[in-house]
């Protein structure tokens, strides 16, 4: 009897590290990359774009990591549903849900997906580096989510503040 194949997990962290806490998503991806988990791929980018569908479709589980302006600290982990797209004024943004919808439309399948919303506090300055509170939220997320990544079992989770 052969062992079950480990799920192929992708962590996609996005945001602008040059805008303070907007860099939470990429920072999370970098921390996951450093964990060197064998079945987990971690990538960072400024924003999601259409060709990310090519990457997403090759995985069983995808965790999107982004900073959030409001919401619970230190983070919220929720199941992500596919979306139809919606209107846009420029080509500089694509929501994670729309990316999932695009992936299914293009390839006939979409992976199980989750959204990690990391609470940030400062976004207005052109400055690299997270605020202390955001840094603490990042550490909490890495500690809580990191050990479960390999399994792909990322049920919705909202830690007590």
């Amino acid at each position: 009897m052969s062992a079950a194949r480990e799920p192929r997990v992708l962590v996609l962290g996005y945001g602008n590290p040059g805008r303070q806490d907007d860099g939470l998503g990429p920072a999370f991806a970098e921390r996951v990359y450093a964990l060197a988990l064998p079945n987990v791929t971690a990538e960072a980018d400024y924003q999601l774009t259409v060709e990310d569908a090519l990457t997403v479709t090759g995985h069983d589980v995808v965790l999107f990591a982004d900073a959030c302006l409001e919401g619970a600290a230190p983070f919220t982990l929720s199941r992500l549903e596919e979306q139809s797209g919606g209107s846009s004024l420029d080509s500089h943004r694509l929501s994670a849900g729309a990316l999932l919808g695009l992936t299914r439309a293009l390839f006939g399948r979409a992976p199980q997906a989750y959204l990690l919303a990391l609470r940030g506090y400062a976004f207005d300055g052109f400055e690299e580096g997270l605020t202390p509170q955001a840094r603490a939220n990042l550490e909490a997320a890495v500690a809580a989510v990191g050990p479960r990544l390999s399994t792909g079992a990322l049920e919705a989770h909202q830690p007590a503040p």
Binding site: Y14, G15, N16, P17, G18, R19, D21, D22, D45, Y46, Q47, T49, V50, E51, A53, L54, D66, A67, C68, L69, E70, G71, Q83, S84, G85, G86, S87, S88, L89, D90, S91, H92, R93, L94, A98, G101, L102, A105, L106, L115, A117, G120, F123, D124, G125, F126, E127
Partner: protein, 478 residues
């Protein structure tokens, strides 16, 4: 009520900073008196650069935008070339940069066409927004969507090979580049280029067919005569990487030509308006009232004498013929012009890949140091200025950037005003009005912000308020 106004507000709060908002001012009779497109341009970035060593700038400026970092990378590198006295790059360095730039234009135009333009062109302005988007295109036109994704990926791979990274590339350095293109990289791109050319032709045909089939409708949709500003080569050819500045009027008359952009401030001035964070550039000699201009694909195709690749030139001639040999002033013709440039970029990539200079090893030059320089490039969205001063300690003391969307500020306001006048009636904000304002703005391919992307964004909202500020109607886009 005479003389009083009501206000319609369209507010896509898309990011922490950098969202756009449209305010439509109505007179007492309910007619549109003016429409204002507010774009919260990036602020403070120049100060972020000041004090940094000049050699860091071509990398730092890529923080501005995740879609067009290469344009900022190259504009800054061109300025820093002059700072280090590199008046003329080696053939390998210049061609590597041109390949990087062509890859950038290719991926950006392909992304715009697939992501923003094709839903409007394929489904129509009144289609359900739940369908009129990229996922809708992928569901109903999967082959076109697949092409869009793979074209964008191809351009990104060109950037990766020439800049070292897809984001925060380091390939262009003051005085040249830090790597050439290996034979293996070249061969990988050559194996795909024919497919890219084929898909580019198809996209161009779609944009052309749409425009020609809807000429009457589009002539009455946010269209108006304007000046056009673009770089051109010394012989008048389109050149997106380097050249002199040319300005033409609405009828094609030359306003200035082959201007050395080191002295751009003698020809271009900027007006400040109290209601907008973004400035309003204009041709100095004409003044702000009549000196405003368009930049980007429409301006470039209008302004050049010819395109130096055969298929794109053939397409330019057809484009020119559609407007009787005069400049095309249809806002929606941006899409057609953009696809002509897509094909031009593909042809340019093909030609460069066959040039053995790309495998050269002479990558850097230096000369007599300067303390001030301007770098200019035709970014996908239009002309991009980077102006710097550097002190004796190699630190930047002044940085001034004028981005494409700023150049197009007045034309976008004009387009929105025109659309609002035609499609707003009564005290109700209709879905049709909202759709059409979006369509007009999208044609310019604006970069509404080069800022942040955090969750917590509000969708596009339209508010109708009376003269006293009372909310009459509100519509939120889906």
């Amino acid at each position: 009520m005479s003389g009083q106004t009501r206000t319609v507000t369209i507010e896509p709060v898309t990011r922490v900073e950098g969202h756009g908002k449209v305010t439509i001012l109505l007179d007492g009779q309910g007619q549109v008196s003016q429409a204002r497109l507010h774009i919260v341009e990036f602020r403070g970035f120049e100060r972020f650069i000041q004090g940094r060593p000049y050699w860091e700038v071509p990398v730092l400026v890529q923080r501005l935008c995740g879609i067009c970092p290469v344009s900022h990378h190259l504009a800054a590198a061109k300025a820093m070339d002059l700072i280090v006295g590199a008046e003329r790059l080696t053939p390998t360095a210049e061609k590597i940069r041109r390949l990087m730039h062509a890859g950038q234009v290719f991926q950006s135009h392909a992304l715009h066409f697939f992501h923003l333009a094709s839903p409007d062109l394929l489904f129509g302005f009144d289609a359900d927004p739940a369908v009129r988007n990229i996922v809708g295109v992928a569901r109903q036109h999967p082959e076109l969507a697949r092409q869009g994704v793979l074209m964008r990926k191809f351009g990104q791979e060109i950037i990766l090979a020439t800049a070292g990274k897809k984001i925060h590339g380091t390939g262009a350095v003051p005085g040249g580049v830090n790597k050439n293109l290996s034979p293996a990289e070249r061969d990988a791109f050559l194996s795909q280029i024919d497919q890219m050319l084929l898909w580019s032709r198809s996209a161009l045909q779609l944009a052309r067919d749409y425009t020609e089939a809807h000429l009457d409708e589009l002539a009455a949709f946010g269209s108006f005569g304007s000046n056009h500003v673009a770089l051109v080569r010394a012989d008048g050819a389109m050149d997106l990487y380097h050249g002199g500045l040319r300005a033409i009027g609405p009828d094609g008359a030359t306003l200035f030509d082959h201007v050395d952009y080191q002295a751009y401030f003698h020809y271009i001035a900027e007006e400040v308006k109290p209601w907008s964070y973004m400035k309003f550039p204009f041709i100095s000699s004409l003044g702000p009232e009549s000196g405003w201009y368009r930049v980007g694909p429409l301006a470039r195709v209008n302004a050049c004498d010819f395109i130096p690749t055969p298929e794109a030139e053939q397409a330019r001639q057809a484009f020119k013929a559609a407007s009787g040999g005069r400049p095309n002033n249809l806002t929606m013709a941006y899409h057609w012009a953009r696809m002509i440039e897509l094909l031009y970029a593909a042809e340019t990539i093909r030609d460069l890949l066959h040039d053995p200079d790309l495998q050269g090893h002479d990558l850097l030059v230096q000369g007599e140091r300067r303390d001030e320089a301007v770098g200019l490039i035709e970014a996908p969205r239009g002309t991009l200025f980077h102006h710097y001063r550097v002190d004796r300690n190699d630190q930047v003391t002044l940085a001034n950037l004028i981005v494409s969307t700023t150049h197009n500020n007045t034309p976008m306001n004009r387009a929105v005003t025109d659309v609002a006048r035609r499609f707003l009636g009564g005290a109700t904000v209709t879905e049709g009005l909202l759709n059409r304002i979006e369509v007009a703005i999208r044609a310019y391919d604006p970069c509404l912000s080069c800022a942040t992307h955090a969750l917590g964004q509000m969708p596009l909202a339209v508010e109708l308020r009376d003269a006293a500020g009372n909310l009459l109607d509100r519509r939120v886009s889906s």
